[in-house]
Symmetry: C2
Subunit: 433 residues, 2 copies
C-alpha cells in the first residue's frame, strides 16, 4: 500500500466545506479505487471561527494559504480561494514550485495564467487539475482532455453560467423583465450583489477559455473572446424567439475556422429542438462537435457546493491513482499559438430588433442599407404600434436575416442609424443552427 | 521517449476499419498527448480480401485473432470481434494472460465474463478498457469510473439502443406500426435481419450490466436483469403517451434500493420535459443520479463506425499514457456481490392498456380488482368503441395508476383476466418520474 494522499484545502466557502464532507464520506471508496488512503490533513481560510457545518478540529489550520501550499507534509493542494491574482495565484504557484499536485476550480486564474501554471506543473511532473473550473459538476474537462482523444474537435458550445440561464428561463416562462429576474436571482442566492461578472458574460468567457484550449490544443487566449451579456434582452425578444421557434440562451462558443479559432460569448437564438435549448434554470450544458463522434452533449449542475465538489473529487481521485498527464492534454510546448479568427468573420443568420421611426419610407431606407451589404432577409415583422402615429413615434421592427457576416450587419445598421430612421441601439442576436 | 505502443486490432468490421483510419489520422496528436508513438502494427479478420476502404498492406496479418493476441511484438489488443464466447473470448483471454492491454467494445463478453476478465487484467497489471461497450461514442464508462468518484450513485438510466429509439421515434412522429418501422430500420441498416437482440431489449441489458457494475461497485450480474422489449408497443400507446405528456422510450434502469440493486430494461413513459425524452432517433442518452452531483445527462451517438471508434481511441489514449486502474473502478475483490432487488418490488406509477369486453359491469370488475390490491387510479380513459356494441365486442381502456408495486399490478390484472372481462394480455408500461 502506497502512503496516503495528504490533501490541503485552501478556501473554505461552500465548495470547500462540501469537499471536506465528501472526502470523509467517500474515504473507503476512494481508498479502494486508488489503492491508498485519501485524506484532508490541512485547511486554510480567512476566518477560522465561521460556522461551515463541518468540524475543522481534525485538520491542521493555516492562516496563510501559501504556507499551507509550502508545507512538507501535504501532497496535493486544493485551491478554492478564487481570483486571478493575490492569494489564489500565490497558493497555486507555491504548491507547484514545491512539487505538489494542484486541484483548482479557479477559471479566472486559469484564463489568465493557465499556460504558465501548466508549464510549472509539467516541469515538476505534478498534476494541475481543474475539472471544477468549467461547468461545475459536468465532466467536460475530462471528456475533452481524455474521452475525445481520437477526435478533431470542430466546435464547443454551451450554457456555462447558471445565473444567466436562470434569468433567461424565468424571463421566458413568466414574461418578466431582466431586472425583475435579476432581483429574484439575487434574493435566492443565484446571483451576486454585483452581478456584472455573471450577467455581463465574463464568467462564461473564463470557462470558455479553458475549454477552447482543451478542445483545440491551443494556448489559452481569454483576451481574444468577444463578450456580450444578457442585460439588453427584453421580454419582446423572448416572445419573438418563441414565435420563431427559438429560445434565447447565453452561449459560449469556440469554433475552428479557416482563419483560426473563433471564441465568443453572446445571447443566441437556439432552435427549440436542440439539446441546448431544452436546458432550463441553473443547469449547464456543453455540446462538443467533433469529426469521429459527431456530437456529444453533457448536461448537469454548473454550480453549487456539492456538484462543484464532485468535480474536485474527480480530480483528487485521479491524483490519488497517479492518473495525470499534461494539464491541457498535450504538453504546453506542443500547444499551438492561438490564431484568432476575428469576430467580424462570424457567418450565420441574425435576429435584429430595431426601434424604427414610424413614418413612410423608414423601412425602405433600412431595407436598402441591408441590400447594399448583400444581406438577404428571411422575414420582417412589425409588432404593434407606437403610442400614436406621426412624428417622433417609434415601432419595434424585427428582421431575420439569412446567413451573413457580423461585419455586414454592423455596417448596415450603422448606416441606418446615420439615416435617422432608427432611434435606439439595435438588438442583434445570432441564430445558431 | 518511451517505445511506441504497438496495437493489434482483431475484427475489421465497420468499427475496426474506423479505428485503423482514426489511429492514422490522429497519430501526431496521440503521440503528443501520450509522449510516445501510437500505431497499429497487426490486424486479424475473417476475410483478408474484403474491401474495407483502408489499405491493410502496412499491417502484419493474422488469420487467427488468438495468434495476434499471443504475438510478442504487440502491446495492446483491440478486440472488435463480438460475441460472448469463441474467438472473441479466446482473443481477450490470450491477450490478458500474455500480459497485454486489452481494449474491447464487446458488451456481451463483459456481461458474461467481465468479472473473470477484470481479475485477469488486475493480476497482470494491464488495462481492460471498454468505453465502447456501452452507449458507443458517449463517454459514460469514463464518467462513471472516474468523473463521479466523489459520488454515491443512486440510479443510472438511459436509452442504450439506437435501433429501438429510432423505431419508437418514427412510430411516434409518423403514427406507424412497429412492424412498418422495423422494416424501414432494416432497410436503412439500423436493424439486423434478426432484430430480436435489439428490439427484445437484450443489447440494452448487456450495456446496462456493464454500467451497473461501474455505478454501484458490484460484480456484473446480467442474469438479474428483467428484460422487456418494444415489439408490443402500438400506435395507440404512443398516442396516449403524447396526450398524457409522456414519450415512450426503451430504458435500461439500474437503481440502488434498500433491498439491493434493481436492474430492468423495459418500455417507459418518460415525461416530455425530461432530457431523456428529448432524445430522438438513433441517439443514446444516459442520466446518472448521484448524491453530490445530483444529476448528469450525457447524449450522443450510441453506434456507428466512427463514434464507436472514438470510444476505442479514448481507451487507447489512456493505455498509451499509462492511465489505467482497475477495470471496474475498484479491484474485483472489493466489488460487492450484487444483492438482487426483485423486480416485483419496483414501485411507481403505471400505464395499463386493457382490451376490455364491452358490456355493463366490466369496468366495475376491473376497478374492484385494482382496489383489492390497494392500487389507486389517477385516470381511466376509454378510447373509442369496438365495431359494434353487444356480446364479444371489445374496447381499449387505459388506466393510469398512482405509485404501486409491480406485484400488485400483476396480481390485479391476472385476476381481471380470470374474471373474463379482459380478452388480450394487458400492456403495462412503467411511468418514470
Amino acid at each position: 500500500m502506497t502512503h496516503p494522499l495528504r490533501i490541503g484545502v485552501a478556501g473554505l466557502g461552500t465548495v470547500g466545506a462540501s469537499v471536506l464532507k465528501l472526502v470523509q464520506r467517500r474515504a473507503n471508496d476512494l481508498a479502494a479505487t486508488a489503492g491508498r488512503a485519501v485524506r484532508v490533513t490541512a485547511v486554510s481560510a480567512r476566518d477560522r471561527r465561521r460556522d461551515r457545518g463541518v468540524d475543522l478540529s481534525g485538520y491542521q489550520w493555516f492562516d496563510d494559504p501559501a504556507a499551507l501550499a509550502a508545507a512538507n507534509d501535504i501532497d496535493c493542494v486544493v485551491e478554492l480561494i478564487g481570483g486571478d491574482e493575490g492569494p489564489a495565484r500565490q497558493t497555486v504557484e507555491t504548491a507547484l514550485s514545491s512539487g505538489k499536485h494542484v486541484v483548482t476550480a479557479n477559471k479566472a486564474l486559469l484564463a489568465k495564467h493557465g499556460v504558465a501554471l501548466a508549464r510549472m506543473a509539467e516541469d515538476r511532473n505534478v498534476a494541475l487539475a481543474f475539472e471544477a473550473s468549467a461547468a461545475g459538476g459536468v465532466p467536460v474537462v475530462k471528456t475533452l482532455r481524455e474521452a475525445l482523444a481520437g477526435n478533431v474537435v470542430t466546435r464547443v458550445s454551451g450554457i456555462l453560467n447558471g445565473t444567466c440561464n436562470y434569468i433567461l428561463s424565468r424571463m421566458e416562462l413568466e414574461g418578466l423583465t431582466f431586472d425583475e429576474c435579476l432581483k429574484d436571482a439575487q434574493r435566492l442566492g443565484f446571483a451576486e450583489a454585483d452581478p456584472t461578472f455573471d450577467v455581463g458574460g465574463f464568467d462564461t468567457a473564463h470557462k470558455l477559455a479553458v475549454l477552447t484550449s482543451l478542445a483545440f490544443g491551443v494556448k489559452i487566449d481569454a483576451d481574444a473572446i468577444h463578450v456580450e451579456g444578457i442585460s439588453s434582452i427584453t421580454p419582446l425578444d423572448l416572445k419573438m424567439a418563441d414565435e420563431l421557434g427559438y429560445r434565447i440562451k447565453l452561449l459560449g462558443v469556440a469554433e475552428r475556422t479557416a482563419a483560426g479559432v473563433e471564441q465568443r460569448v453572446h445571447p443566441t437564438m437556439a432552435a427549440k429542438s436542440s439539446s441546448i435549448a431544452q436546458v432550463m434554470g441553473v443547469l449547464n450544458a456543453v455540446t462538443i462537435d467533433a469529426d469521429a463522434v459527431r456530437s456529444v452533449t453533457l448536461i448537469g449542475p454548473g454550480a453549487g457546493g456539492d456538484p462543484t465538489a464532485s468535480a474536485v473529487l474527480s480530480d483528487i481521485a485521479d491524483v490519488a491513482r497517479g492518473l495525470h498527464g499534461a494539464p491541457f492534454g498535450k504538453p504546453v510546448d506542443l500547444l499551438d499559438d492561438p490564431a484568432r479568427a476575428p469576430m467580424q468573420r462570424h457567418e450565420g443568420g441574425y435576429y435584429v430588433r430595431l426601434t424604427v421611426v414610424d413614418r413612410p419610407g423608414s423601412m425602405a431606407k433600412i431595407a436598402t442599407r441591408m441590400g447594399d451589404h448583400q444581406i438577404s432577409l428571411e422575414s420582417i415583422l412589425q409588432k404593434g404600434k407606437g403610442p400614436r402615429g406621426g412624428d417622433g413615434a417609434t415601432v419595434p421592427v424585427i428582421l431575420i436575416t439569412h446567413a451573413t457576416s457580423e461585419a455586414a450587419i454592423r455596417a448596415a445598421l450603422d448606416e441606418a442609424q446615420g439615416d435617422g430612421v432608427v432611434t435606439e441601439p439595435p438588438q442583434v442576436i445570432r441564430i445558431e443552427r
